[in-house]
Symmetry: C2
Subunit: 632 residues, 2 copies
């Protein structure tokens, strides 16, 4: 028996094996947080053809069942199957490119000149066992020993006390105390454990994006990133952007239930990612005792189940910008329940901890040169400044560069086309695929490539409309014209870029470019004055700056001023996981940033409309593009 | 339709009314924490006769059903019923004598010369509403305002943040902050509420005894005790004393489950008492924002679900003696979940917070005279000392003076016979009943009376054996001879004191007296050196010191040195609820007390055996008793 995927891969199935297990054995991980019990409802796949047996699909809606979806963990092939794995069900672990980058993170952290000081600390303690003449209670005994180490006024939670007696006796009074370092009188004890290998302590850094979640599993001893995993945010079923999430959380579903559903979704995503990495590296989730979270203000509120409603109502006030160190257990994060969760501080309702993380990761708060940080995710956020001032704004770009809302879009992970060149004569494309093999979709860098190349080769006009005729690669589809980027095989579909896709991409690039020019105008800085432009986001490392300038996404500046840093949110989260000094710098960054509201700005709307063209209605702003167009 | 109780009261029943409701309307409260849903299983009554309809008695065991027990809330009379209410099912609210005493507590607190400073504090705050130009987050706005009031470094829990935004907006930014006062940099915010009447803030003081629970509902504004309620500790089904409870918690039922069951029992008792008082006084449980708990070390551990196993294993080490201020919500106490719970500190495994409360209530730590405190509950605890030193010991007395383990025993509440005199010629008793009316049983003070009177009138010999013959009041029962204290009416039974009861009482008095003499011997203080002897416990206020000396329970000292203070554990809990200074004094008392272990002491065993006689084998120790006996 075998399963053939619509992407053309073939997977053998052993007798009695579920679809999920068969895929897993072939190295294809699905999102799942219940361990195959059929209760989390995450491992949805579509049976295109073939017979199978089901045992419990209660988590599926009538609509989902009608469209052929099943839970892979509760579905058992009876004969050969053809299966489609929806993008949201596919879990990506250890993307090769990201993994090679992540190996450098510990070194990058050291480049800040700070010492390693993870969110949680550990102290080995040897207690004298109690006797009839030294019969103080367990906790007093521990406090007495701690005072010898200079601790005073340590806080002990109820959960700490509950587990303390058994650990003390089970480890013959030689224990390790895991604690949060305060200021000497406000340290907080988290839990005791037997004295073990210090290398067996882990933390996780999580980037909670509106569209995508990324999780790093980090060894706290040396800051080594053990592995990474990413997935789409399951909240996407409730809406693409933060506004629709807030509406769902506070209105549509009935206040508390809606918020709880959204929170359950993100918690279950994080748990699924953590569980996969723990399983893969034989790490007990209980030894993960530190969590750092970077997300925009809405994502941070939903994670903590805090009412986000006033974020979208004038005067746009979040409940919190600075989050106390609350415990993972309060939100049912499946790591050590006593693990503190550090949340990157937010600046305002539409500039969150992910951007503070970005500033930290780009070191712009430490440098005297003026840097522009452009973080292009579902919301496009911008920061301009240096070590003396920081100004920030947000512009709604939509999730297309992360693959969402684009017919064949996907994240920059294995199987994504990340680069496209189109022959000027034949109009045939040459593509590269992350990890090689059959392409599964197009990621952000290739979308930019495609538009630049289609425009350059005359297949798109200045307004982004397809010109039909010259090549069968441009054909009529069900959403108007579309360009065939890669032909499908047998049961897999063609990978195309449709007219609708292109309009979405143009709207996104126009919003971002308009945001940049409006923000620079508001603060009276010319684009030329920018010493450095840092691009952050999930485009994929194949992003070609020239192409991004060519379509008018980035301002036309000397190319050496640009740097693509990838996901700076997760980098910042990692830095805060590993360094107390950098956590403090994050707080300072958040406090120092001035937020400028662009949404109500008339100049922004004008700039946006002008920027909907390729590259722009005012070609003079893009001298290098004009030169290139004239040369072609 | 009507219900006739075996105690001869008659209660009308309306059509469709449950037994519980019918009793309630007649002013007879049963223990219940589920509000009549049939899920807590506490309102057990026995149907002696009559027809009824049941709807769900799932919480009863087969044995219970076999013995005629039903849940009063799920049982509906079809015709007239005869019903017996077991002692454990009867909830006692507002016992008249205790209520009159409790009115004096606020004045008693003032006699300490401390100002009122309840466990939780409240601060009214007016926040400027946010605007586009003052758009910091809700929590930053609150912190900014607090810093104007001199607060810094306040801790905010996740639960605080969750409820904050709605309260701020719902009360137009004028709110009250309830908080725990720390040392200026460690204050802890508990919750926000609309600014309301400060008189609408309550706390509860709870005495968690091994046998009995007592709860005071206190208005925090002025320390007024609104009402009291008491019940037997439901943990009694798992064993009479702390040792059998520890065994059940840690061995019999399988470690964690046993502890959880015991904890559920005490939590559900506390909730039942609190719910009854809240219902009676129309107090919303959410406005109870402070809880103080006094209990022995084992009861305190079980309340907090802390492993008590090492309490009974040499070298007898509790997990905690000093309990941090944890939240009521962590233990599912049905008051404001953010309410802090102050636990009176314990001294050692067998001298707990109830005794520290007793020392505090008896002011012995403040006086230069030497006081002996005898707290006679299930365990008899003793403290000797003054404002310079305090020595303590424990002796296992058993729960008989609280009514448990005595055929017709009951607590000193309404319906209890609290005083007995026996005519020397006719052997007929004259009894008084708390609250008047039909007697339901015998409380501790009457047990002491009965033994003294039976001995004096020659119906008991020195060994406590009944002499038969002289009166039909002494008759043969199923446990040997018994004295009929009160004849039953129709369906209610006679109230008797059996030979077994008397032996139990003699063992208890012997253990206590032996404890006193051994302890005094150990520290080299003669009984004569005692300036004051304070008796604490649930005997009932009719305790006659002469009688207690006469049976050899108390040492034979001039009567003016004795004082009966009743339940000093709940008094101490009340004092700690209302005063920060007294909480600090409680900590100092606990730290200053020296514990002496008597259980392994050879002199104690010798003393115990000698004390099993009436009044004692060495009559010379009781000169006043000898005089009285010689005079009779």
């Amino acid at each position: 028996m075998q399963i053939r995927l619509t992407t053309d891969e073939t997977v053998p199935v052993a007798q009695g094996e579920s679809v999920q297990d068969a895929l897993k054995h072939a190295g294809i991980d699905l999102v799942s947080s219940c361990g195959g019990k059929g209760t989390c409802g995450k491992c949805k796949v579509r049976i295109v053809q073939g017979d199978y047996r089901e045992s419990g699909n209660a988590r599926l809606t009538v609509q989902e069942r009608g469209s052929g979806l099943v839970l892979a963990c509760r579905t058992f092939p009876v004969g050969d199957l053809v299966v489609e794995i929806p993008k949201v069900s596919r879990l990506v672990v250890g993307d090769k490119i990201a993994v090679s980058r992540m190996r450098e993170l510990a070194a990058y952290m050291r480049s800040y000149g700070v010492t390693s000081s993870p969110l949680t600390s550990r102290l080995d303690i040897e207690l004298p066992p109690p006797t009839l003449t030294d019969s103080i209670s367990d906790l007093e005994r521990l406090k007495r020993e701690l005072s010898k180490h200079g601790f005073g006024g340590v806080r002990f939670s109820h959960r700490f006390a509950e587990t303390m007696p058994a650990v003390l006796r089970g480890s013959a009074w030689n224990v390790s105390l895991t604690y949060i370092e305060g200021d000497g009188i406000r340290d907080e004890a988290l839990f005791l454990s037997p004295q073990d290998d210090a290398a067996q302590r882990y933390g996780i850094a999580v980037d909670v994006g509106t569209t995508t979640l990324v999780l790093y599993l980090v060894r706290l001893l040396d800051g080594e990133v053990i592995d990474i995993a990413s997935t789409y945010n399951s909240q996407m079923q409730y809406g693409d952007d933060v506004i629709s999430r807030i509406v769902y959380a506070t209105e549509q579903a009935g206040a508390e239930r809606g918020l709880a559903e959204l929170q359950d979704a993100v918690v279950s995503d994080i748990n699924a990612l953590a569980a996969t990495l723990c399983g893969r590296h034989a790490v007990d989730a209980a030894v993960i005792d530190a969590v750092v979270l970077a997300g925009n203000t809405t994502m941070s509120h939903i994670f903590w189940r805090l009412d986000p409603s006033s974020i979208r109502e004038e005067p746009y006030i979040p409940a919190l910008n600075y989050f106390p160190l609350w415990k993972a257990g309060t939100q049912r994060i499946a790591v050590n329940p006593q693990a503190p969760v550090y949340t990157l501080p937010c600046v305002a309702s539409y500039v969150g901890g992910d951007i503070v993380a970005g500033v930290l990761a780009a070191k712009m708060h430490r440098r005297s040169e003026i840097t522009l940080l452009m973080d292009i995710g579902t919301n496009g956020e911008l920061v301009v400044g240096n070590n003396e001032w920081l100004v920030t704004a947000a512009c709604s770009a939509g999730p297309c560069f992360e693959g969402s809302g684009i017919r064949c879009g996907m994240r920059a992970t294995v199987g994504a086309i990340d680069s496209i060149r189109i022959d000027r004569d034949t109009f045939e494309p040459v593509v590269s695929v992350i990890g090689g093999g059959q392409p599964l979709g197009i990621c952000g860098s290739a979308m930019i490539d495609a538009i630049a190349e289609l425009f350059m080769s005359g297949l798109l006009d200045q307004r982004g409309h397809f010109a039909s005729g010259p090549t069968p690669r441009v054909r009529e589809g069900d959403e108007g014209y579309e360009y065939v980027v890669a032909q499908g095989h047998e049961r897999s579909s063609d990978i195309v870029l449709t007219q609708v896709d292109i309009e979405n991409i143009l709207r996104a690039k126009a919003a971002i470019y308009a945001g940049v020019t409006t923000l620079l105008g508001e603060i009276g800085v010319s684009a030329d004055a920018l010493d450095r432009v840092v691009i952050a986001g999930g485009f994929g490392s194949s992003l070609v700056i020239d192409q991004a300038v060519f379509i008018g996404l980035l301002p036309d500046l000397p190319r050496e001023r640009f740097a693509y840093l990838g996901n700076t949110s997760i980098t910042g989260a990692y830095l805060c996981l590993m360094s107390k000094d950098l956590r403090r710098e994050a707080e300072v960054i958040a406090a120092r940033m001035t937020y400028i509201e662009l949404s109500a700005s008339r100049p922004f709307m004008d700039e946006y409309v002008s920027a909907l063209f390729l590259p722009h209605t005012e070609i003079d702003r893009f001298p290098s593009v004009r030169t290139r167009l004239e040369a072609s």
